[in-house]
């Protein structure tokens, strides 16, 4: 009886402009030597990883700053097309605005999202994005003027939940 070994290697990498790309390769092979599963799987891993890495160096289209921020990509609710619970365009717009107005490093923001949620900004759902924005308000409090409410949100209006 043939014994099969199924292996999959997947990788997702962050790209500028809060985008990312991912690629995975799967193979199904017949195990030649059933006593060497570990060796065979190590060889497959190395081979699949190389295949994925080689391909992922071609980044294809990378969105420029401000891409999709004018509502052209959104549905009526401002949600990302194809992902109803994904970060909304309004949330992305606010994050971009905070980055722009504070000369913040986008990579830092991306890393913050990865540290907090295990994924880049564009992979966040709306709840995660809302909490990321809270963190950004903590990190980049309002810079000038009066009339703030003490929570660092003076420069930004989120239309938060009002009881």
């Amino acid at each position: 009886m043939a014994v099969k070994l199924i292996a999959n290697y997947a990788k997702r990498l962050g790209l500028p402009g809060y985008s990312s790309h991912q690629f995975s390769v799967s193979v199904e092979t017949e195990l030649q030597n059933v006593t060497d599963v570990a060796g065979e799987s190590a060889r497959l891993y190395e081979s699949l990883q190389k295949a994925v890495d080689d391909q992922m160096q071609q980044t294809g289209f990378v969105p420029p700053d401000g891409y999709g921020m004018n509502g052209g990509q959104a549905n009526g609710n401002g949600h990302q097309a194809g992902n109803e619970a994904g970060i909304s365009d309004k949330q992305l717009d606010l994050i971009n605005r905070i980055v722009r107005e504070n000369n913040a490093n986008k990579t830092d923001i991306e890393n913050m999202a990865i540290q907090m949620f295990g994924g880049g900004v564009r992979t966040l759902n709306r709840m995660q994005a809302s909490n990321l924005i809270d963190e950004l308000f903590e990190k980049y409090p309002r810079r000038n003027g009066n009339g703030g409410n003490g929570n660092g949100r003076g420069n930004y209006q989120r239309q938060p939940a009002r009881a």
Binding site: M116, M127, N131, D134, A161, A163
Partner: protein
């Protein structure tokens, strides 16, 4: 149909904090919904009349406790382990900041503050949340679009979401809650939270926990856990929102006299209402 109450027979001057009916119809929160269904006249006083009231001491205590728990939850998120001293500093800071902002009415401020800290000490000692558990979300503003159901947007803030989608709401109370009563009286709120979580994540919650910190002489922590919201509970919530919309549209603000009047901040205004 009931006419909107007039302020002519109410001697308390109106402040400028009132909101419009259109504004209140554009979205709805669990607490606003609960106030409306508890007593429509109280709702009118609180949200539409513009009459401003000082924050009760108990509410100030609850807000300070909430802020400290938020600090603790955020610290765990960032893989930090704050000491009891750090937590006490956070509580004192929150107490002072909120006192500045809200000017609450105290009879014994020091006593209230000690009560608040004792509640927190009890919580940190007895909490079912491990000190190294990383939250899924902390004090997060979320909203759910209910236009497909012909209803306004539902908005709210989730105190804490534990890993796996377990929603936690913190409460302080003067009385030891009965689990069945808590489940019943908070149903609108917990179902709303479930909907908000589903809409903002695309996943169903795994359950809901109410963590009640009880201000008895020896403080207690009571955790009431409920399963995910059912379709019947969601329908019940929608009916409640529908009633809210219709009530506001026809300006139906009749009073509902009952036991709750004993603690109503608008008792005097209500007596003069006609």
């Amino acid at each position: 149909m009931n006419p909107a109450p007039t302020t002519e027979t109410i001697t308390v001057p109106a402040g400028d904090g009132g909101r419009s009916i259109d504004d209140l119809l554009s979205n709805v929160s669990a607490s606003r919904l609960a106030t409306f269904h508890q007593c429509r006249l109280r709702f009118w006083f609180r949200y539409l009349s513009g009459i401003m009231k000082p924050k009760p001491a108990a509410l100030h205590l609850g807000s300070s406790v909430h802020e400290t728990l938020k600090f603790w939850n955020r610290a765990r998120w960032h893989r930090q382990t704050p000491s009891l001293r750090d937590l006490h500093d956070a509580f004192s800071g929150a107490w002072s900041e909120l006192r500045e902002a809200d000017s609450p009415q105290f009879e014994d401020e020091e006593g209230e503050k000690q009560t608040g800290w004792k509640l927190l000490e009890t919580y940190f000692r007895e909490s079912p949340i491990p000190s190294d558990e990383r939250p899924e979300a902390v004090e997060v503003s979320v909203e759910a679009d209910l236009t497909a159901h012909g209803l306004p947007k539902l908005v709210g803030v989730l105190d804490l979401v534990r890993p796996g989608g377990r929603i936690v709401d913190f409460k302080t109370s003067g009385k030891t809650p009965d689990p069945e009563q808590v489940t019943h009286t908070t149903e609108g709120q917990t179902t709303g939270y479930a909907l908000l979580y589903r809409e903002a994540t695309g996943r169903a919650e795994s359950g809901i926990e109410i963590h009640t910190l009880v201000k008895t002489k020896a403080p207690k922590l009571i955790v009431t856990a409920t399963p995910p919201a059912t379709d019947a509970q969601v329908t019940r919530l929608f009916r409640g929102i529908e009633s809210y919309v219709k009530g506001l549209e026809r300006e139906d603000f009749v009073p509902s006299p009952g036991l709750q009047c004993a603690s109503c901040e608008y008792f005097n205004e209500c007596r003069r209402w006609s």
